[in-house]
Amino acid sequence: MSELSGRDIVKVFPDGTRALDGVSFAARPGRVLTLLGPSGCGKSTLLRIIAGLEAPTSGTLQLDGESLEGVPAGRRGVGLVFQNYALYPHLTVAGNLSLALETQRVSHAEIRGRVLETAELLGISDLLDRRPGQLSGGQQQRVALGRALVRRPRLYLFDEPLSNLDALLREGMRAELKSLFERVRATVIYVTHDQTEAMSLSDDLAVMHSGRILQQGPPLDVYRRPATVSVATFVGTPRMTLWTGRRHDAELVCRGVRVELPLGLRSSAELCAGIRPEDVELSASPLADGWPARLTLVEPLGAKVLLTLRVGDEIVRAMTEPAHWTEQVWVRWPRDRVHWFDAVSGDRIEDRAEVRGAT
């Protein structure tokens, strides 16, 4: 099990695009680190730099304490699963799996053994003589996985591997990947823009935006204590409701609604309050400390229903049980479930009382 760390990685492309702007991270041995972010945030560039397909403009990468600088892609001991699989169309599945081993000094018998073993693991044993063009998307995905696995790399890299599959297959493959990661016990870096994938697969989550890592930590920590407004809106579906307002005494005054401020909050004139839809309490009858709200949109999601409500002049979204909701409802949010951010910098403001209580 290997350990990878990156320090201050900067990548500026020849056309002046600053794809990575000083990124530092650590992938723990035997754990899955997910790079999560919208397209164009630099996550794929970072992955390509780790793979050795691009050189960083500055910054260092260390795999098990050794610098990766100048080490060509083929010698890094990394296996990369491409978004579009990039299988060799003119080779059979067996050929695709064995090509990497042929370049190493591995005997024919051993190559054969390892190809069969990998195919067995992925359930593609009966496809070994087919060509990629004869396989379904899910099967191609398995072969792409196999091509990385068969080399027994020190580090596995995944570049949005599930984004080309249809929804049903994606969920199945996601579960398979998860159990595969647990069986192989390898160090994995996984790039995705799908936060459900990130939540379910990763041990560590790094949320990226405009070439920077905004927050890194276990996925539930990131979900519970998002470090910035960007992280808060990107992690968690349906997304968090955010209200901006001015501080007035012990309350944040928004448009037509006020939110009670926690006691330990550091002073800041303009604040953002964030409430996750799953934290909003709803009632058909008036609630103590609640606000009257008007129901404007109902989106049934199956087990849950997503309501869009108007409170004063603000919009709040609430996730709740499917029921017949009348137009007039009352909403309330527990004080400790409100996330606070500085409206100017977007940084999280910790409620000191809460922090003390948590530790």
């Binding site: 892609a73 990497a100 091509r147």
Partner: protein
């Protein structure tokens, strides 16, 4: 419904007619040549023209075969054209692979420069090449043609191969890099197999050029046993200065063309099978 069918029918008729016209236009000289080769001498110059040979005669082929070492000419042509093609493609393929991965500006510059080179009329090269070939003592040696042929066809070969290789997804090359394949191995195991149809096309085009080339072949190959088929045909002359042996010349041209036709037919099947391979669901 009926109306669209009518229009479709009319279009089909027009297309058939147009294709027939093009075919007649391009094939007529070749057909005329072949017919002439099969006519007895009296019929060739007869007025009014008689179109079909009657009786069909192989006399021109027979007398030509007796007079000239045609087999040797063909063998020389095949030998020289094959080596020139191999050399040309062997140099063009790595060059095209490298070019295909150069960023825009650099690639276009090199390709344009190559195009400019191929715009020079070959006759400009005749004298310097002749001096060079004589200086090296290569008159009547296959190398005197193999090297210029390979060089003259390089721009074409690089252009065709570069566009084919550029169409390959960059990820395939990256996957191969991660699999630890060296540059040469990637060329051999990934790029060339995937560009096989274009490679075959390039080979055919270059081979046809080498086979048909006349000026350099005539100049550098002076000994009868070294001549290629084009030079050989040129040396077919009549009994006197005023007699042109049309029948024998036509026979020689037919003999020179047949191998090319066979080659193209053979390769064409390869190209088609290369294109459809792996596309069929099992």
């Amino acid at each position: 419904m009926n109306r669209t069918r009518l229009i479709e029918g009319r279009t089909a008729l027009l297309v058939t007619f147009a294709v027939g016209l093009v075919l007649a236009w391009s094939l007529a000289p070749a057909v005329w040549q072949a017919l002439t080769a099969l006519k007895p001498d009296v019929q060739i110059t007869k007025v009014p023209t008689s179109y079909l040979p009657h009786p069909v005669t192989m006399q021109h082929f027979a007398s030509l075969w007796e007079r000239k070492p045609l087999g040797l000419y063909l063998a020389n042509s095949a030998w020289i054209a094959t080596w020139a093609t191999l050399l040309c493609v062997a140099v063009a393929a790595p060059a095209a692979t490298a070019l295909a991965r150069l960023p825009g500006r650099g690639r276009e510059g090199v390709l344009l420069a190559l195009l400019m080179l191929s715009l020079f009329p070959p006759i400009l090269l005749l004298f310097p090449l002749y001096e060079g070939v004589r200086g090296l003592g290569w008159i009547n040696h296959p190398l005197a043609l193999v090297l210029p042929y390979a060089a003259l066809n390089l721009p074409l070969a690089v252009w065709v191969l570069e566009s084919a290789l550029r169409a390959l997804p960059a990820e395939l090359d990256e996957a191969a890099r991660l699999d630890g394949l060296s540059t040469l191995r990637r060329l051999w195991r990934i790029h060339l197999p995937l560009a096989l149809p274009s490679l075959a096309t390039t080979c055919i085009l270059v081979f046809i050029f080498c086979w048909n080339e006349f000026m350099l072949a005539l100049t550098f190959m002076t000994r009868d046993t070294s001549k290629t088929i084009t030079g050989g045909i040129a040396s077919v002359s009549g009994a006197s200065l005023y007699e042109i042996p049309w029948g024998q010349l036509s026979a020689a041209i037919v003999i020179a063309t047949l191998p090319l036709i066979l080659l193209v037919l053979l390769f064409q099947r390869r190209i088609v099978s290369g294109l459809t391979r792996g596309a069929l669901k099992g």
